[in-house]
């Protein structure tokens, strides 16, 4: 894939993200694949801020802010309206954080998936409520420090991919900014498919994960190479790993982020292995 061929820039400079924000890189890549004939719905999150303050909107596609818990429902209404107006080719994309996806908006997400709404739902997963200052979500990995888990999170990370798989939607994928070709290919594929599409994007957050701003892509790559974040897609129920992990020691991933300072490598390793064993049942 020639990345230069994707010249469309849907994100302008002057957005309000922190330096090194993975979620802003992700949006840029996503819009390259989706193009300008789109609507973006964004629930309360860091992205509510990143999108910019009037009159400096950072997105060049029509976009609508949503309350925290109902972005998939707003998108459903928008989809229905676009269809009524004969604009069936306009893509409706929800761009939500992990808090909106795994927690407060889980009911509306599940319902929109169950109705198989013709929407692309993207969860940019930075594994905590970052906008409110790094509080734990059900996506926060075990052992990770957040302001509400000062001794490290005790519970596992919720497996949202399996939860979405249970909805039998036509397309599910994971992606991350360290693999732009894989990322864009998945968004392109999602764009061609009708129905509910779910894409989970691991979005390293220097501010919340406690690493140097320049290491965002490296952290994302390590997440894949260590097997912490499997890159996969599920097309009409068929699972496929799109990038095999190199099985680098999990430590490599943990050590670059201060949020794991108190985490036990052994137990983290165990949960990564368990996660894969679980995955392999479907492969």
């Amino acid at each position: 894939m020639d990345l230069k061929a994707f010249s469309y820039e849907g994100l302008s400079s002057g957005h309000l993200a922190c330096a090194g924000c993975g979620a802003v890189l992700a949006m840029r890549l996503a819009l390259k694949a989706i193009g300008s004939n789109a609507r973006v719905v964004i629930p309360a999150s860091c992205w509510s801020i990143i999108a910019g303050r009037h009159p400096d909107a950072s997105l060049k596609v029509p976009m609508m802010h949503s309350t925290f818990e109902v972005a998939p429902s707003i998108a459903s209404g928008m989809r229905a309206a676009l269809n009524r107006l004969g604009l069936k080719d306009t893509v409706v994309m929800v761009w939500a954080g992990d808090g909106a996806t795994y927690d407060i908006g889980f009911a509306s997400l599940s319902a929109a998936a169950e109705r198989n709404e013709d929407i692309i739902y993207v969860c940019y997963d930075n594994e905590a409520y970052m906008n409110t200052g790094i509080q734990r979500s059900s996506s926060t990995p075990p052992g990770a420090w957040t302001t509400t888990t000062p001794e490290g999170k005790l519970e596992e990370k919720k497996n949202i991919i399996l939860a979405m798989y249970a909805h039998r939607i036509p397309y599910i994928a994971t992606a991350t900014v360290a693999y732009p070709e894989d990322f864009i290919a998945k968004f392109q594929k999602a764009k061609r498919i009708k129905g509910f599409r779910f894409i989970l994007v691991l979005s390293p957050c220097p501010t919340g994960w406690r690493f140097e701003e320049k290491r965002t892509v490296e952290v994302a790559r390590l997440a894949v190479e260590t097997g912490v974040f499997p890159l996969l897609e599920i097309e009409n129920g068929a699972w496929r790993i799109t990038k095999e992990p190199m099985w680098l020691p999990v430590d490599r991933y943990l050590k670059v982020q201060s949020r794991f300072a108190k985490a036990s490598t052994e137990s983290f390793e165990r949960s990564v292995k368990e996660n894969w064993r679980f995955l392999e049942r479907f492969l």
Binding site: M64, S76, A107, A111
Partner: protein
């Protein structure tokens, strides 16, 4: 020709004539009949619309927000706990200036559970920026639904059409329907200037710095107040077309009245009977029915109420630790010009017979100011 319809059916018929293209709702007693009827119209093709069956009321309103922001006329309905569950989006949609119309079957709120009528649900949503109009009959439920679209789409504010649960929602009355032509003449096609489009892409509801936000709220406040004029124009225009004339505040037997009873909703019909009976006994009493609660027609009330010596307000929604909500509104409008006594007559569907209203009248008449429960 008159047809026998409940207020729920009357609203569904009005919706069919108004032709929203996106409908979304969630079941809750006593609202459910409205959307069940509309679902039948959609299934039979009588109404060409997309019906989205969501998992909750907040999603029902969210769907409608998405559709209206995209420029397509929509409809939803709810009641009581469903309305409360929408609370965040009530603010969001009014702040976002979306002309949404929603029917609400008024019902008490828990705990304890109670499915019967009072107005606590909508009155407690008073400050969300939504307009609220209260029907006293199935005919008004029908007409007010059409009127609500007209006004909402001209002032860019959402509107609740409130009907008393069961008393109106489940009780059939003979009403006059309107023709499609009449509705089309009255209500132009929906044209939402803020609809999202590829031609001129923008962000809907970007963050505003505090001074701009303050100004946006000031505009919202101003437009919500000015909406009263839009209601009056719409009442007049619909009166000319349909022959059915309404006012924001309606008076009954006020000519030589020394005291007026003030109420809102279906209680108005019962109160008429009570007024007639009291008149029969020589009491100089009349009735004022508030139809439009938001925007509140202050001056209209002041104009007709300033001729009486005393007002007795019948409340069906209260502000705990203060007094009845309608009483507060009436007092606020009159600003001491006329003494006002508030009586909470019925919460949670306690039956309101004419005798109860007569009792409220005598309780209130004895005391110039204050409030009480009977």
């Amino acid at each position: 020709m008159r047809v026998l319809l409940t207020s729920s059916e009357a609203i569904s018929r009005a919706v069919k004539l108004v032709r929203p293209e996106v409908i979304s709702a969630y079941p809750i007693t006593p609202q459910t009949h409205i959307v069940e009827e509309i679902a039948k119209f959609v299934a039979s093709g009588e109404l060409d619309a997309t019906f989205i069956r969501v998992e909750s009321e907040i999603s029902a309103l969210a769907v409608v927000i998405g559709a209206v922001a995209q420029g397509v006329r929509s409809f939803t309905a709810t009641s009581s706990h469903g309305l409360l569950y929408m609370h965040e989006l009530l603010h969001w949609s009014a702040g976002g200036r979306l002309p949404i119309v929603m029917a609400v079957a008024n019902r008490a709120v828990g705990a304890p559970w109670n499915i019967w009528c009072d107005q606590q649900d909508t009155l407690s949503q008073r400050d969300t920026g939504w307009m609220q109009v209260y029907a006293s009959s199935a005919q008004e439920a029908f007409d007010f639904t059409i009127l609500a679209y007209k006004v909402a789409e001209s002032v860019f504010l959402p509107c609740m059409v409130c009907i008393d649960g069961f008393v109106l929602s489940h009780t059939a009355e003979p009403i006059l329907l309107s023709s499609r032509d009449d509705v089309n003449t009255f209500l132009p096609p929906f044209d939402f200037p803020l609809r999202l489009s590829n031609q001129d892409p923008f962000t809907l509801w970007p963050i505003l710095e505090p001074a701009l936000y303050h100004r946006q709220r000031k505009d919202l406040f101003r437009d919500a107040s000015r909406a009263l004029e839009a209601w009056k124009r719409a009442f007049k225009e619909w009166g000319d077309i349909s022959g059915r004339c309404y006012r924001p505040i309606e008076a009954y037997r006020l000519e030589d009245a020394r005291c007026a009873i003030v109420c809102m909703g279906a209680v108005s019909s019962t109160a008429r009977v009570a007024v007639d009976r009291l008149r029969g006994r020589g009491e100089k009493v009349g009735l004022i029915t508030v139809k439009l609660f938001r925007p509140f027609p202050k001056e209209d009330l002041l104009e007709i109420a300033s001729f009486v010596e005393h007002l007795v307000v019948l409340d069906r929604g209260v502000s705990y630790g203060a007094e009845g909500v309608l009483t507060q509104e009436v007092k606020g409008a009159l600003s001491g010009a006329v003494p006002v006594f508030g009586v909470v007559v019925s919460m949670g569907g306690r039956e309101v017979f004419p005798e109860l209203i007569e009792e409220a009248y005598f309780v209130g008449r004895r005391r110039p100011e204050g409030m009480g429960w009977i």
